[in-house]
């Protein structure tokens, strides 16, 4: 429950829409907006006006070669991403093979074992993290092997320390660790003792217990 009333929220709505509300006030305002359709509608209308302001600036011709330089950067990042995915896939495949061998060795040594089989290694599953207030992309999380988690944000998350929280499709939320965000950027890597399955939610939760961004794990291959 937010500490703000609708009247107080109307006072803060312009600053929230302009993206200049900070810290605790922003967290409280976002929580109120999430629970109040009227205030949410007001913020969206004001955001539309705020977003129109940049249209008033003059258009300018960028320096010669600008287009080429932008496209080169995109192509470089694309190649790097492909290499990263290929490397991860290769590592995952190797671990999967070793896991299968290990399971078979264990089964051969204990044919009466009824313990669940080891979870096979899997390719990383990308989870888009979205800002809870504006709904815009805030970053990505990657889940590998059902347990390894990497979270990175680069947009819209206020500076501060956040709890990386996992909420399983069924069950209570649990903390995986703490992540620091500075100048909208931050990253965290760690492990979940519990297997992360499809429908689980990863969120960054502020000191007041409010999620500032979250993503839901899709199909785990």
């Amino acid at each position: 429950m937010s500490i703000f009333t609708c009247g107080e929220m109307r006072e803060l709505a312009p600053e929230l829409a302009l993206g200049v509300l900070g810290g605790t006030e922003r967290a409280e305002a976002i929580m109120h907006v999430n629970d109040c359709a009227r205030c949410q509608a007001l913020v969206l209308e004001l955001t539309e006006a705020a977003d129109a302001l940049p249209l008033l600036t003059p258009e300018l011709e960028p320096p010669a070669g600008f287009e080429h330089r932008v496209l080169s950067r995109i192509h470089t990042r694309r190649r790097r991403n492909r290499r990263f995915v290929a490397t991860i896939a290769a590592v995952a495949a190797s671990v999967a093979i070793l896991s299968v061998i290990a399971v078979r060795v264990i089964e051969a040594n204990d044919s009466s074992s009824t313990a669940p089989r080891a979870v096979a290694a899997r390719a990383p599953v990308a989870v888009e993290m979205r800002d809870n207030a504006a709904g815009v992309p805030a970053g990505w999380a990657y889940v590998t092997g059902g347990h390894s988690v990497a979270v990175t944000v680069d947009y819209g998350v206020p500076s501060g320390r956040y709890d990386v929280q996992l909420t399983p499709a069924r069950g209570a939320a649990e903390s995986l660790g703490a992540m620091t965000v500075s100048a909208n950027r931050g990253s965290w890597t760690g492990r979940s003792a519990r297997t992360i399955t499809q429908g689980s939610t990863l969120a960054l939760v502020d000191a007041a217990g409010r999620a500032v961004c979250h993503g839901t794990v899709g199909a785990v291959a």
Binding site: E11, A13, P14, E15, A17, L18, G19, V20, L21, G22, E45, L46, E48, A49, A50, D51, A52, L53, P54, L55, L56, T57, P58, E59, L60, E61, P62, P63, F66, E67, R69, V70, L71, R73, I74, H75, R77, R78, E128, R130, G135, V136, P137, D154, Y155, G156, A183, N184
Partner: protein, 186 residues
Amino acid sequence: MWSVSDDALVAGLAAGDEDAASAFVRRFQRRVYGLARTIVVDDRAAEDVAQEAFVRAWRHAVSFDPRRGSVVGWLLTITRNLAIDAVRVRRPVAIDPAVLVGLAQPSGEREPHELAQLGVDTERLRAALAQLPEEQCRAIVLSGLLGYTARDVSEADNIPLGTAKTRIRTALIRLRAALMNEENTE
């Protein structure tokens, strides 16, 4: 390629279509660079910001939702936030908001299809801004374009925090009313 809609270009960008990426950059580079240059002032820094804005747009193109707003609005929001971050790092350079308003390009110089893509009548918005009292105009431009918090505005203009908040709030509500009025008369 130039007749392709903005939404389709973003979809092509997300799909890794190089022609779409090229057309996307060509279509918006003047607008993105213009906004970046207006905020950061420095040419080199403006190009860095503009380049990064396009790279971010490419990275997030797959999640662009046209129901949430126009492509140009989305792209300029990315640009503005990056430019504000750059200015914060380099320390702010004072820009007279009146200059910004005066520099806004009249709609008569734009192609009709471009205005439709913008999804807003910039001339009407500019007129609404010009009708604001000078102190409100300055407050909303400092806040909306340069990312000044209410406290930043109060310190920059040497006014109480409450006054800065009131100026920002009143100005944005008036701009919103101008845009709503535009929608209602269409």
